[in-house]
């Protein structure tokens, strides 16, 4: 911008906050789009490293290693690359010379990636499913419809629902505040949002025990009002919220920051109120990022084990979520049941991943409405 004065957008937010894997995450189809954010040096580095992978858009070993967070970051950037599309310069396009690479190296690299993925990812999943259904359909149904399993499932769903709702609201609010206003503690908030990624789950659980447990500083107040947080549903929900805080915010912030405030200012100038501006101008732009992040957030919320394990207390039928229930079944040598219940989570994950790919595909198609 050639404006004269300091701009009100928080420029530091365009790149995903540093210190977290995924800031320069290179993964899958999104790789093609990551251009505005990465510096040229990074781009060359990445393209040199992943070679054909960047061109074909196939997931590479390097990209996969970066956890879901990498996906979140890279995809947000991708969205920017597609819609913002300020400069179309893509030095990477010019690097097709890698085609003449030694076929032996090419074959080896592909084989290693595939074998590694098969051993580490596919085989265990198949093992779970085969164990789950190994003793027949009836056995599976019996394990899954067991009272305690159903209660654990209900608790898991409730926890996920509350956690995802809370984090969606928080994520939108924080992203809006961070990209639209300037305030003291802005940098701190960005860092705080990333905290759960950096903190071990056991700490995430312990902090709630230390805060709300019997020895915690909130204990007198809680006891006086007969409120139970730790070893009860509220604690489980809070631990889950804590662990999944970054998902929505981290996804929305770069999209909002990259987009600028012009359209919203135009709307305000024309007399639109906050809600009209948000729903008609802002939301259409971030809707896919939002759906995508909610999906990831749900996946994580349902599967969270560590932090929840610490605050739950493992009361069967009361404070057991599905992951905890599986652990108990396994520890009690009920292997068939454990695998059957695991299958629920595995199948849920597959459904969620499919949904995620679908959202990615649809959002790519719709990035620029009508252009195509």
């Amino acid at each position: 911008m050639t404006t004269d004065a300091a701009e009100t957008t928080a420029e530091g937010l365009v790149t995903p906050p540093a210190g977290v894997p995924g800031g320069s995450g290179e993964s899958g189809g999104a790789a093609e789009e990551v251009k505005n954010i990465l510096s040229e040096a990074e781009r060359n580095f990445l393209s040199g490293r992943t070679g054909r992978g960047t061109e074909t858009g196939s997931p590479t070993g390097a990209g996969r290693a970066d956890s879901e967070a990498a996906d979140a970051g890279a995809r947000a950037d991708g969205e920017d690359g597609g819609t913002g599309g300020t400069d179309g310069t893509t030095p990477r396009r010019g690097r097709r010379g890698h085609r003449q690479e030694n076929p032996l190296i090419r074959g080896t690299l592909i084989a290693v990636s595939l074998v590694f993925a098969a051993l580490m990812l596919v085989l265990p999943l198949l093992a779970v499913l085969s164990q789950a259904f190994g003793a027949g359909w009836d056995n599976f149904v019996r394990s899954v419809t067991d009272t305690f399993t159903v209660k654990a499932l209900k608790l898991t769903l409730l926890t996920s629902l509350v956690a995802v709702t809370a984090n969606t609201l928080f994520g939108l609010t924080a992203a809006w505040a961070l990209t639209r206003y300037r305030f003291r503690g802005q940098g701190l908030l960005v860092t705080l949002i990333d905290l759960p990624f950096a903190v071990s789950p056991i700490i995430a659980g312990l902090i709630f025990i230390l805060t709300y447990g019997r020895l915690g500083w909130a204990a007198p107040f809680l006891e006086a009002h007969d409120l139970k947080i730790v070893f009860a549903t509220p604690g489980i929900i809070m631990a889950t919220v804590f662990v999944t805080i970054p998902f929505v915010a981290r996804e929305i912030i770069p999209v909002l920051a990259a987009r600028g405030t012009d359209e919203e200012q135009a709307a305000v100038l024309m007399g639109a109120g906050f809600f009209r501006t948000f729903f008609q101008v802002t939301l259409p732009h971030i809707r896919w990022a939002l759906v995508y992040s909610v999906i990831l957030c749900s996946a994580r919320a349902m599967g969270e084990f560590g932090a929840v394990s610490v605050v739950s207390g493992h009361l069967r039928g009361k404070t057991n979520t599905l992951p905890l229930h599986i652990e108990i079944l396994f520890n009690e040598h009920h292997y068939r049941e454990a695998f059957a219940v695991s299958a629920i989570l595995v199948i849920t994950s597959i459904v969620i991943l499919t949904a995620r790919s679908l959202v990615e595909w649809v959002s790519k198609k719709e990035e620029e409405p009508g252009v195509r």
Binding site: D262, Q265, E368
Partner: protein, 356 residues
């Protein structure tokens, strides 16, 4: 006065974006806010629109202070630099937006949008999304969208900056014609002096947060009030210690001045000059053909002065000795600029008061 800014100031951190900015505009004027980037022009525009709050001073529109009025109640239309069209709305919806927020009845919206689409000549593209439009079309839509709620004052932020040079000329005259047809008071921001001179009735020159001078384009060109305006508007060569030039010996040592190409006249050695003592020797150091005239750079003392030379005159070539007459120049004194004539000419270099 229809628009008046009185001592408007704005600071960002320790950067003065606007320092006691004052100017007035009559109703129906198309004014340019001209200045280099960082001179505060966009900030001034945004303060008028209400997107920034001034730290001091006041802004009046039609005699009424609008400083504390909400942006949407000021009756001002703003065309953003990059148009800021709503990406997820069609052309029609974009133009209708400002009417819907004002709870205009449906039939009224339909009529007004249709009217504006006809005005900008894009009736056929009503169903398109901004991404499907060319730069020029986007600009027209942004213009129509700003006009939809019938603003009394229109602001345009660098309206031609994002458009390629070819279309820009065409759009300039289109916009000029639109605005004069609608008789709406307007200000547009630009850093291009040629654009300001060509399009605007009045130019407000800003520099480092201050208004340097306000006036009709020809006034600014003919009598720049400050060294900045003398340099910024039109072509000129700035020289130091100009008291070595014949006819300007009275100037103080170390003083600076600006010399326009048309203030310099060259004579071939054979040509008679009426006031022989008012010329000085020079040497042609470069020549370029500019279509209808020759652009000649002449070396006088240590200065390189640019001027034009008619093809009808005796021929010249690089290296030739010439007689150089400097009629007048803009002498700088502190932050003032003043027209000074050649003291050796009969009328003292006066008679510089052409009108159009």
């Amino acid at each position: 006065m229809f628009v008046e800014l009185r001592d408007v100031s704005k600071r960002f951190g320790n950067f003065d974006a606007a320092r006691k900015v004052s100017f007035e505009l009559e109703k129906g004027t198309l004014a340019a806010l001209l200045g280099p980037s960082g001179s505060g022009k966009t900030t001034i525009l945004r303060m008028i629109a209400g997107l920034e709050t001034p730290d001091g001073g006041d802004i009046f529109l039609d005699g009424q202070s609008i400083k504390n009025l909400e942006p949407s109640r000021r009756g001002i239309g703003l065309v953003f630099q990059n148009y800021a069209l709503f990406r997820y709305m069609t052309v029609w919806e974009n133009i209708a937006f400002g009417l819907k927020t004002k709870r205009t009845p449906k039939a009224g919206i339909k009529e007004r949008v249709g009217e504006l689409l006809t005005l900008i000549g894009l009736e056929d593209l009503a169903g398109r999304y901004p991404a499907q439009l060319s730069g020029g079309q986007k600009q027209r839509v942004a213009f129509a969208r700003a006009l939809a709620p019938n603003p009394r004052f229109l602001l345009l932020d660098e309206p031609f900056a994002a458009i390629d040079a070819k279309v820009r000329r065409e759009l300039r005259s289109w916009l000029r014609e639109m605005i004069s047809r609608l008789k709406i008071t307007s200000i547009f921001v630009t850093h291009d002096q040629a654009e300001a001179i060509e399009v605007a009735d009045r130019i407000i020159v800003t520099n480092r947060g201050r208004v340097e001078q306000t006036g009709a384009p020809i006034e600014l060109y003919r009598s720049p009030a400050t060294p900045f305006v003398a340099r910024f508007i039109g072509e000129s060569t700035v020289v130091r210690n100009y008291n070595v030039l014949t006819g300007f010996e009275n100037a103080p040592d170390g003083a600076e001045c600006a010399i326009r190409p048309e203030f310099v006249r060259l004579f071939a050695p054979s040509e008679p000059v009426q006031y022989e003592n008012s010329v000085q020797p020079g040497r042609v150091s470069a020549m370029a053909f500019r279509g209808d005239v020759l652009e000649v750079t002449v070396r006088v003392r240590d200065f390189s002065l640019a001027t034009s030379y008619s093809l009808e005159r005796p021929s010249l070539s690089v290296g030739d000795q010439v007689k150089v007459l400097i009629y007048r120049l803009y002498a700088f004194q502190g932050d003032q600029a003043r027209l000074v004539g050649n003291s050796l000419l009969a009328n003292g270099g006066g008679g510089y008061n052409f009108q159009i």
